[in-house]
């Protein structure tokens, strides 16, 4: 009760100073959701199946029903506030609501869905807008497949079945050291405009084929508009030989696809690296068409990475290739245990603007990475990864215009930094890679790239985002008192004024008594 009152008092505070909070308990999950017609976000705790209103005084908690239950937050009515939504047994969707001072679930807002989610009660991200109409769409897990149901503001209509996209690992155990386990990882779908008509399309890649669902005014088609069979590009596997003296030779058997508008017509084209060649296929209003291929560019050596980036002065994307020297297992073992030196080549082929690239290398730079035992580097990098996982990075909308353009970071020592209006959207991630390549490939001579830079470049979505803020003074910087990890942070509009606030919590373990969540709420 005391904790609830403290939470309530904090959530109503309006000072820009950090306002201390003490939830009084440690809970499994927290969520901020609207429960009525007001736009106020209520802080809810979710423990197993039970939802409780943290600032709700004596309002009784409510249990989520079903044996295979999923829950999420989604702005169903488009008022800017998320609702708490439950999918019961893959069959029906219900909204959490407050009526007459108590929590209840609505009548089904969708039913007869025939989903097959995992057993238990799991949080997920299965209701978000895919077709850009502003209404959340339902990505319904059916085993390892995903079946779309498109939201239209009044309900959901059946959309395409995207097939098996999830990773489902089953282990049946065969010895004392083994386990019986089921692990399901459902990817988040990332729509993008492939056809150039301004509508988001869906491109799903299951490793052997790429299925394009190009949307029309009527929505996504039930069947893929076009399918790219990636296996046709793969080098003939029957010729594959085990060559431990040159493991990197096997990169020719990998198939890599990169999408970009190469001919400037507004739709996306695709570059496919496979079998020692880069092939380009142009897109049109129906997506990429394999019959619209350009003469392939033959590449020598162990090319393992391709990217389209503007390297020269013009605005046409150029082709950047990265290749690595022949590496045998012996070299790698030595590198793992002793010291190592690996040579890379960065090659740039200028784009012609019609989907083709010049066949002559425009720029070539060499990079030699060297260092001590890779395993010890890995251990050091693990510390960096640890730092990475301890640092929390969020986007925020502090001005209430509906766009999250502010960057908020919270370090494990409690340093909170905010850069207002810094990034337009996540496309900055592409920009960061391009910027890295532009900087890396400018000038002459060999490249000065260290393993840390390369690791951050190849692995770092988060670091790419934070790199945008490098050299820029934060608009807000403060140190949260008595901070330690583990910690967590969310950015939400708690008070219904459209402007988001920060809620940062850490786990506090007193010498006596139970662990509890404490922290601060900060108005931007």
């Amino acid at each position: 009760m005391i904790a609830s009152l403290m939470v309530a008092a904090c959530l109503q505070a309006s000072s820009s100073d950090p306002v201390p909070m003490d939830l009084g308990v440690q809970v499994q999950h927290l969520a901020v959701a609207g429960l009525d017609d007001s736009r106020i976000g209520h802080l809810l705790s979710i423990e197993q199946r039970t939802i409780k209103l943290l600032e709700g005084g004596d309002v009784p908690g409510i249990k989520m029903e079903g044996s295979a239950t999923l829950w999420t937050l989604a702005d169903l009515n488009g008022d800017g506030t998320d609702e708490f939504v439950v999918l019961v047994d893959g069959q029906s969707l219900h909204k959490l609501q407050m009526t007459d001072g108590s929590l209840s679930f609505s009548e089904p807002i969708a039913s007869g869905l025939s989903g097959l989610p995992p057993r238990g009660c799991n949080p997920g991200d299965f209701l978000y807008d895919l077709n850009g109409d502003g209404h959340p769409d339902l990505s319904l897990p059916v085993g390892d497949s995903i079946h779309l149901w498109m939201g239209n503001g009044e309900g959901f209509v059946e959309g395409p079945n995207l097939g098996a996209l999830s990773t489902l690992d089953l282990k049946t155990g065969d010895g004392l050291m083994s386990s019986v386990s089921r692990r399901l990882v459902v990817p988040r779908l990332n729509p993008e405009d492939v056809s150039g008509d301004g509508r988001p399309d869906l491109v799903v890649n299951d490793g052997s084929s790429v299925r394009q669902y190009v949307s029309t005014a009527g929505g996504f088609p039930a069947e893929p508009t076009r399918t790219l069979d990636l296996t046709r590009f793969r080098a003939d596997i029957s010729n594959l030989k085990v060559d431990l003296g040159n493991l990197t030779h096997s990169v020719k058997y990998l198939v890599q696809d990169k999408w970009a508008d190469l001919d400037g017509d507004g739709d996306l084209d695709v570059m496919i690296l496979a079998d020692g060649m880069v092939r380009v296929f142009l897109g049109d209003a129906d997506g990429v068409d394999l019959s619209k291929g350009k003469p392939p560019l033959k590449v020598r050596g162990n090319v393992f990475y391709i990217y389209a980036a503007r390297i020269d002065k013009d605005d046409i994307p150029d082709l950047v290739l990265v290749r690595v020297e022949d590496l045998g297992v012996g070299t790698l073992l030595k590198a793992a245990l002793f010291s190592w030196e690996i040579n890379f080549d960065f090659l740039v082929f200028r784009g012609r603007g019609d989907g083709r690239f010049e066949t002559r290398v425009f720029r070539e730079r060499k990079a030699t990475l060297q260092g001590d035992s890779l395993l010890s580097v890995y251990k050091d990098e693990k510390d960096q990864f640890s730092e990475l996982r301890r640092k929390i990075v969020r986007m925020a909308d502090s001005d209430g215009d509906g766009e999250r353009t502010d960057l908020v970071t919270l370090d494990s020592d409690g340093t909170l930094q905010v850069w207002l209006d810094l990034v337009s959207d996540e496309s900055v991630l592409h920009g960061a890679i391009e910027k890295f390549l532009q900087q890396t490939l400018s000038g002459d001579g060999n490249l000065d790239v260290d393993i840390s830079t390369l690791t951050q470049w190849t692995l770092g979505r988060t670091s790419a985002m934070t790199s945008v803020a490098e050299g820029i003074k934060p608009d807000i910087k403060m140190k949260l008192a008595d901070w330690s990890e583990p910690h967590a942070m969310t950015v939400r509009d708690f008070d219904g004024d459209s402007r988001e606030e920060i809620l940062a919590l850490r786990l506090f373990a007193p010498e006596e008594g139970a662990k509890r969540l404490v922290g601060f709420k900060i108005r931007l």
């Binding site: 809970v27 999950h29 927290l30 969520a31 044996s67 999923l70 829950w71 999420t72 937050l73 995992p118 057993r119 238990g120 799991n122 991200d125 085993g143 390892d144 497949s145 999830s166 489902l168 089953l170 049946t172 155990g173 065969d174 010895g175 004392l176 050291m177 386990s179 019986v180 386990s181 089921r182 692990r183 399901l184 990882v185 459902v186 990817p187 988040r188 085990v242 431990l244 003296g245 045998g328 297992v329 012996g330 030595k334 245990l337 693990k382 990475l388 996982r389 301890r390 929390i392 990075v393 969020r394 692995l459 770092g460 979505r461 988060t462 583990p486 910690h487 967590a488 919590l505 786990l507």
Partner: protein
């Protein structure tokens, strides 16, 4: 009808090859059982077809000499089936041969002669979702009371449920389900050969929705992980009935079967295995080495320091493990410096008691890695004498491979059952020419050693292959299976 060929000329035994043509993509799950009731075990194999459906193909064995090259039965499996196995469940109902056990998310079913699923028992299973591209074999099935009929340890959402061949409950063991948080990042390289993950922080999933940008990619939309230790049947107390065991961390739990065939809800014994922070368990296995009828336990640990070419390994065996009063002292204690070690038990000197056989691999990169890398494969054995085992190896045999010269990846055991027909175990080693050499163990008067002559060779001309020695017919000589690329060969033995 059959594609068969005489193969490998052994002195006392020969092997006839059956080239099995899978009707679709092999899913890696296969077992042998008598499908048609003729007394021979037949091959059951899970396959995936281009139509996206999963099948179990049955290839009959004929007169103990060959298997059908194409499937004799081609059984479509319902999309709801998660895993499977085969045993004779319906012998009381007069159905010949074995039946397929099918585990779904809410129950276990047996496929009867009419092809219909017959409910065995209802249970909410831990493996609650079928895969569209996998059909794993269910382990945890044994005849635990010697009545000739199978019993099952089902892994449910609440723990273990033990049922007999008619679905009658014999025990229920409630366990806390293990769960995992989604990792911060995970990578999958070289077609799944190398998987890396960076684990997430304790409070990583506190706030929903997850607004993290992700590291390599956005966080998954849904992550759900559930696990339990595998239930392993063993006669732990030597009473002739199988008991249920499982390992959680360093604690080994035992539930002893009583005379009525029931298993207690609470562990009969919990034993903490010798464990230190700076070592990892590498091999923990129930074995039969000596002592009384109770099972013995093999425990192999290695140093957790991986920043070395070789590291210390310890192999211990505890005879009649569950009956030992003091597990600080083991009956066998061997130390080896190696990159990798595997332990086998075979009676090499024909004295009626199993000996300890070691197969170790040591990486040699030369002084600070300046020489061409090589791997030394060292094989040794420690012979038994009245439930004690010598600490000095009876023989040591080794072969060195230049790493850069390796052009095949073959998975196989070093010590295998008799393949040559003399009743003695054999030694299997890669030749430098790319085939597998089969050698005998020979008596040296006061011990054994590996014969200099190669008894026979198995040509394995494949990029990647797995060789498994198994008994499939009843002549007492080992048969072997070669899986290379997408093909499967079964070599059945015969006496000359």
């Amino acid at each position: 009808m059959l594609a068969a060929a005489v193969f490998a000329l052994f002195q006392q035994a020969g092997h006839l090859a059956s080239f099995v043509q899978p009707s679709g993509e092999q899913l890696g799950a296969r077992t042998f059982a008598d499908a048609d009731g003729d007394g021979d075990v037949d091959l059951y194999m899970a396959t995936l077809h281009e139509n996206g459906k999963r099948y179990i193909d049955i290839h009959y064995q004929h007169q103990g000499t060959v298997f059908s090259s194409v499937a004799d039965e081609h059984i479509e499996i319902s999309p709801a089936v998660v895993s499977w196995n085969v045993a004779d469940f319906l012998q009381d109902e007069g159905e010949p041969g074995c039946e397929i056990l099918m585990l779904a998310s809410r129950g276990a079913y047996v496929r009867n002669a009419e092809g219909r699923p017959q409910l065995l028992t209802r249970a909410v299973m831990l493996l609650d979702m079928p895969s569209s591209s996998d059909l794993p074999l269910w382990n945890g099935m044994e005849d635990i009371d010697n009545d000739g009929k199978p019993e099952l340890a089902l892994v449910t959402a609440a723990g273990y449920l033990i049922v007999d061949h008619e679905g009658e409950q014999l025990g229920r063991i409630d366990l806390k389900i293990g769960t995992d948080r989604p990792p911060v990042a995970s990578g999958n390289y070289l077609g799944g050969l190398i998987r890396t993950t960076i684990s997430s922080q304790v409070l990583a999933g506190l706030f929903l929705p997850n607004e993290d940008l992700g590291v390599i990619a956005r966080p998954p939309a849904l992550f759900s992980d559930k696990s339990l230790p595998a239930p392993i049947w063993v006669d732990a107390n030597g009473d002739g009935r199988l008991d249920l065991s499982y390992l959680r961390g360093a604690d080994l739990y035992l539930h002893m079967q009583d005379e009525q065939g029931n298993l207690p809800e609470e562990p009969s014994q919990t034993i903490e295995l010798p464990n230190t922070e700076d070592s990892d368990f590498e091999q923990v296995e129930w074995v039969d080495l000596g002592g009384g009828p109770a099972a013995d336990l093999l425990l192999v640990r290695s140093s957790a320091d991986v920043l070395r070419q070789t590291r210390p390994w310890q192999a211990r065996v505890f005879l009649d493990f569950a009956q030992s009063e003091d597990i600080d002292e083991s009956d066998v204690f061997l130390k080896v410096d190696a990159t990798f070690l595997w332990v086998y038990f075979f009676d090499l000197d024909a004295d009626g008691q199993r000996d300890i056989c070691l197969s170790s691999w040591a990486l040699d990169l030369g002084f600070i890695g300046r020489n061409a890398p090589k791997v030394d494969h060292k094989v040794s054995a420690f012979l038994s004498a009245n439930d004690t085992w010598g600490t000095r190896a009876a023989f040591t045999w080794s072969r060195t491979f230049q790493v850069d010269d390796v052009d095949q990846l073959i998975s196989m055991d070093t010590f295998v059952d008799d393949l040559t027909g003399d009743g003695q175990p054999n030694f299997l080693e890669r030749s430098k020419a790319g085939s597998l050499e089969i050698r005998r163990f020979v008596s040296t008067g006061h011990g054994v050693s590996v014969a200099e002559d190669v008894a026979a060779e198995i040509p394995v001309s494949a990029l990647k292959a797995a060789v498994e020695v198994i008994h499939l017919n009843d002549d007492g000589i080992g048969d072997f299976i070669v899986k290379r690329d997408s093909k499967l060969e079964i070599h059945l033995s015969y006496r000359r």
